[in-house]
């Protein structure tokens, strides 16, 4: 009994700690990113609490956290991308519409007949303020916060006591002028100061310890009408309507677009752009073919080399085995980007050691980066270097799991080494390795790092298309989405992402089928 109570208390404490974080997380994401996300997390938090408190729902304890993780990390991002694909979210359309309107409404200008004042700020011990304003003609005014507007002061009004050479009193209602050093400390107060002066308002526009404080009569440049969803420039009277994520005016030649824009739904435009643009469509199949060749080739080469080293390390006659094994793992242990950039330097056509050797031996230089075929060979080679240690490690394990008596039996039956490899080692290995090979294929299918670091997908196919000869599907779409005329274009990128999904989806399905078949064969 006491044990269960203790367990219950621990459980509730842990659940309480979890709830603190979960509530915080839900509030933060809900208020800053998306209310749906916040609500989703809140719902899962409640469900998790219920599940952990109820003994009847015991089995669900393992499933619900997984479902929550899936919602947060998989379902929500996919849904979000699908929504974004129908918008023009990206550079030039970053702020929310309310933010754009708020920014425009905060934009003030000085009408031609409005006044500019120089301001002296007075403060008392209670940190209250008084403002003495002098306009361009030397007329003085006083503003007391809490009282509306400004009150004119006669130049020789004795009520304000002693004045300095500019006619500014040395003290005001017992308040003293703000010192130079304190001026900037009051910046927030001055920034928030709004004095009514219909039809305008007086705002502090510049504070300078050297030049003093400047205030201007300003009026909003823009007015927004929610009924018609239009912004009007008060100064010029031009009306801007909301259209595809921008406020615009005029048609055709005289069409004028107001920056900044906001994300807007633009229907299937992003998808149509992918389908209609010949420069996007034409290189597609070449890129796709190379993607498959690259992924399959990488698996084949890494497995070939890895297995060869594994058999070598597995043989009884090899001396210094631990040493060789450590050496051969190095490419796997060094960060990939480092390896790729190093190989890029080693293969430099004029100064790389590889080509210097080739030049000395064969008197020829090979330009590994400019020729469409050579760059592919070089990339496959570098990826083989990067990937073989992994294949070697898993092959070593698999080799040791093959029973030795099978080889004994084969030797007795008169099979030579090659036959043993072909009919015992390889089939036994493949059963164990097949799921990993499929995973490796899927990984290389999206191996952006190697492609991008080695030659940025280059050499270019032509000046007109962004595709390079060594681009795979993923690097190609990256280039399409982020090097367009608008800079970053998240909406377009999301649309391409959805197309990619329809290509990669069937391949993944096929991969899973294959894995299952191998697993059934092994069982």
């Amino acid at each position: 009994m006491s044990v269960t109570i203790r367990n219950q208390v621990i459980k509730i404490l842990l659940l309480g700690i979890f709830d603190v974080f979960a509530v915080q997380f839900a509030v933060a994401l809900g208020s800053r990113i998306s209310i749906i996300l916040g609500l989703g997390i809140a719902v899962f938090t409640i469900v998790i609490n219920v599940v952990f408190l109820s003994d009847r729902l015991y089995p669900w304890r393992w499933i619900v956290p997984a479902l929550a993780g899936m919602f947060l990390l998989v379902v929500y991002p996919i849904g979000y991308s699908m929504v974004v694909a129908f918008t023009n979210y990206g550079d030039g359309h970053l702020l929310a519409k309310e933010q754009v309107i708020a920014q425009k409404l905060a934009d003030l200008y000085q009408p031609s007949d409005a006044k500019t004042y120089s301001v002296t700020v007075f403060r008392n011990a209670a940190n209250e303020f008084r403002y003495w304003l002098v306009d361009e003609d030397g007329n003085a005014f006083i503003h007391r916060p809490g009282e509306p507007g400004i009150v004119p002061v006669a130049p020789d009004d004795p009520a304000y006591g002693e004045r300095d050479e500019n006619g500014v009193p040395t003290s005001l209602d017992g308040f003293v002028p703000l010192e130079r050093a304190a001026l900037l400390q009051s910046a927030t107060t001055l920034q928030n100061l709004v004095i009514e002066a219909p039809p305008n308002e007086i705002r502090v526009t510049n504070i300078s310890p050297l030049r003093g404080i400047q205030a201007q009569e300003l009026t909003p440049r823009w007015s927004y009408d929610p009924a018609t969803d239009t912004l009007t420039n008060v100064e010029t009277g031009t009306v801007y309507r909301s259209e595809r994520g921008n406020f615009v005016t005029g048609e055709g030649e005289s069409r004028e677009v107001l920056q900044p824009g906001f994300p807007a739904f633009i229907g299937f435009d992003n998808f149509l752009r992918v389908l209609n643009d010949a420069r996007i469509r034409d290189p597609f199949w070449r890129v796709f073919l190379w993607t498959v060749v690259f992924a399959a080739g990488s698996v084949f080469l890494t497995l070939g080399l890895g297995l060869a080293f594994a058999m070598l390390l597995n043989s009884r006659d090899l001396p210094l085995k631990p040493f060789f094994r450590s050496i051969l793992i190095i490419p796997y242990a060094v960060p990939g980007w480092l390896v790729v950039t190093t190989w890029r330097g080693l293969l430099n056509p004029a100064y790389g050691p590889v080509n210097l050797t080739l030049e000395n031996l064969l008197n020829t230089q090979i330009d590994w980066f400019s020729n469409a075929t050579l760059v592919k060979i070089a990339i496959l080679f570098v990826n083989m270097y990067l990937g073989f240690p992994y294949m070697m490690l898993i092959s070593l394990g698999a080799l040791q799991s093959i029973p030795g008596d099978m080889y004994e039996a084969a030797t007795i039956d008169g099979a030579n080494g090659r036959q043993q490899f072909r009919w015992i080692t390889l089939p036994m290995l493949l059963v164990a390795l097949a799921p990993l090979l499929v995973a490796s294929f899927a990984f290389n299918f999206n191996n952006f790092t190697v492609i991008e670091l080695f030659n940025n997908g280059g050499p270019p196919m032509s000046a007109a298309t962004v595709a390079g000869h060594s681009d795979i599907l993923l690097s190609y779409t990256f280039r399409l989405a982020f090097s367009g005329a608008r800079g970053t274009d998240y909406g377009f990128a999301a649309a391409i992402g959805i197309f990619i999904f329809f290509i990669v989806g069937p391949i993944t399905y096929f991969n899973f089928r294959l894995t299952r078949q191998f697993e059934e064969a092994a069982a």
């Binding site: 603190v20 408190l53 970053l94 940190n127 900037l184 910046a187 056509p349 032509s462 800079g487």
Partner: protein
């Protein structure tokens, strides 16, 4: 366990939940109250410094120490805390784009003028008011570079443009004309004095930035300019006669083995440091490393081709986040404090580049910086309009095709295709 004890436990949990959520609500309210409420009255007769605002500045690694020193002096003088956050130069822009609208941006950031187009279109920058007497102390080209749609969005501190670094052991002076320079480069290689005569950096992206003087030297341009000097994205001049001539000249030099894609930036730098490269076209960022390497060098403008080549001019400066809560303070910090001899000197010493602050530029006696300052006076400000993103990419591919001696495309076809692609992309994106 019986029913009542379970009920007690559930109730306990609910109470726990309620307490924690209430605590959080209270905490959150306190935090916002602190941020928005006016400061509590100070009961003492003296004016204790009541902190109403703090300045946050995002700066890159090279500028951080200088700005930290300046910030400390500012804090001492005015009692305003200045907080400096260091991040990579490019990250400053990306983080502002992501964090600015959500209210996580700084008050002031360090940046390059060619970010203006993107940041302006994103509504992320607040204009800066510069009094006329102060404006007169800045290099007008730098101010022009930071002016967008008629308003100033940055307070510049440095400018940069590219020129020729030459090894003074190998080259006495750089000749006046491009053709003579190429002959000299070939002569040096033929005599075995240098492994390479001249190098322009070529990366995997083609590096159009470093090739731009070649295009302007033959009379080409990226975007035409209107009467006010603003770039017009509808007038792309890369494939005009001058552009074709520049591509053919590049083709000639690649065929003659004078230029090669093997000299990417890193390779060229190593060769120059080892005294194997006689002339290298690049910018003032290379000065530091070259001085450390001890190789004797000097800087000269790129020699005349058909016209005087004009490199791109870049300006670096301080910008103000439009979502800053201290706009007046940020403005005052920049115009009253940064735009002074002392702070400009600090920034210069931390990372010497041609200064945008004229009183400082006049004092500098470093011949290399002087040479680069001279170069910036006949340079084109790098277009800051967002359409530049489309240009870099296609243009770089055209240059790469020449370096690769692609058999399917002549240099003329390459630049025409590139310009066509740029025009189409600009046209297709102008509406959205």
């Amino acid at each position: 366990m019986n029913k009542s004890s379970r009920l007690v436990l559930v109730l306990a949990l609910l109470a726990l939940l309620a307490v924690t959520s209430m605590a959080q609500v209270v905490l959150a309210q306190e935090a916002t109250a602190e941020a928005t409420e006016a400061p509590t009255p100070v009961p003492t007769p003296t004016f204790a410094p009541s902190v109403e605002g703090t300045l946050t500045i995002w700066a890159d690694e090279e500028r951080t120490p200088a700005i930290e020193a300046a910030g400390a002096a500012f804090t001492e003088e005015y009692g305003i805390p200045v907080q400096i956050q260091q991040m990579g130069f490019g990250d400053i822009r990306n983080n502002l784009v992501l964090g600015g609208p959500a209210g996580n941006g700084p008050d002031i950031l360090i940046g390059a003028h060619d970010w203006l187009g993107q940041l302006y279109a994103g509504g992320l920058l607040a204009p800066i008011e510069l009094p006329e007497d102060l404006a007169a102390k800045f290099n007008p080209l730098a101010l022009q570079a930071f002016t967008y749609e008629g308003q100033l969005y940055g307070l510049p501190y440095a400018l940069e443009a590219i020129a020729i670094f030459y090894n003074t052991d190998l080259v006495e002076t750089v000749p006046d004309t491009w053709d003579e320079t190429i002959e000299l480069a070939q002569q040096l290689v033929a005599d075995g004095k240098a492994e390479r005569g001249i190098a322009i950096p070529v990366g995997a992206g083609g590096d159009p930035y470093h090739h731009y003087p070649l295009f302007t030297g033959f009379g080409s341009y990226v975007f035409g300019r209107d009467e006010e000097g603003s770039y017009n994205p509808e007038d792309v001049g890369l494939d005009n006669e001058g552009g074709i001539a520049a591509m053919n000249e590049l083709d000639r030099l690649v065929k003659a083995g004078v230029l090669t894609s093997a000299t990417d930036y890193g390779a060229a730098q190593t060769l120059f440091q080892d005294g194997k490269l006689a002339m290298w076209i690049t910018g003032p960022w290379a000065i530091g490393t070259l001085e450390e390497s001890g190789v004797p060098f000097a800087v000269a403008p790129i020699p005349t081709m058909e016209d005087t080549p004009r490199p791109f001019m870049g300006a670096q400066g301080f910008m103000v986040n439009s979502f800053s809560k201290n706009l007046l303070l940020a403005q005052a910090f920049l115009t009253e404090f940064v735009a002074t001899d002392e702070v400009m000197q600090l920034i210069y010493e931390a990372n010497p580049r041609p200064p945008a602050w004229l009183p400082l530029a006049e004092q500098i006696d470093d011949p290399n910086i002087q040479a680069f300052t001279e170069v910036t006076t006949h340079a084109d400000p790098m277009p800051a309009i967002p359409q530049m993103a489309a240009v870099w990419d296609a243009w770089g591919r055209a240059i790469l095709l020449v370096y690769q001696q692609d058999s399917n495309t002549t240099p003329e076809e390459a630049i025409k295709q590139a310009a066509e692609a740029i025009r189409e992309q600009i046209a297709s994106s102008s509406g959205s």
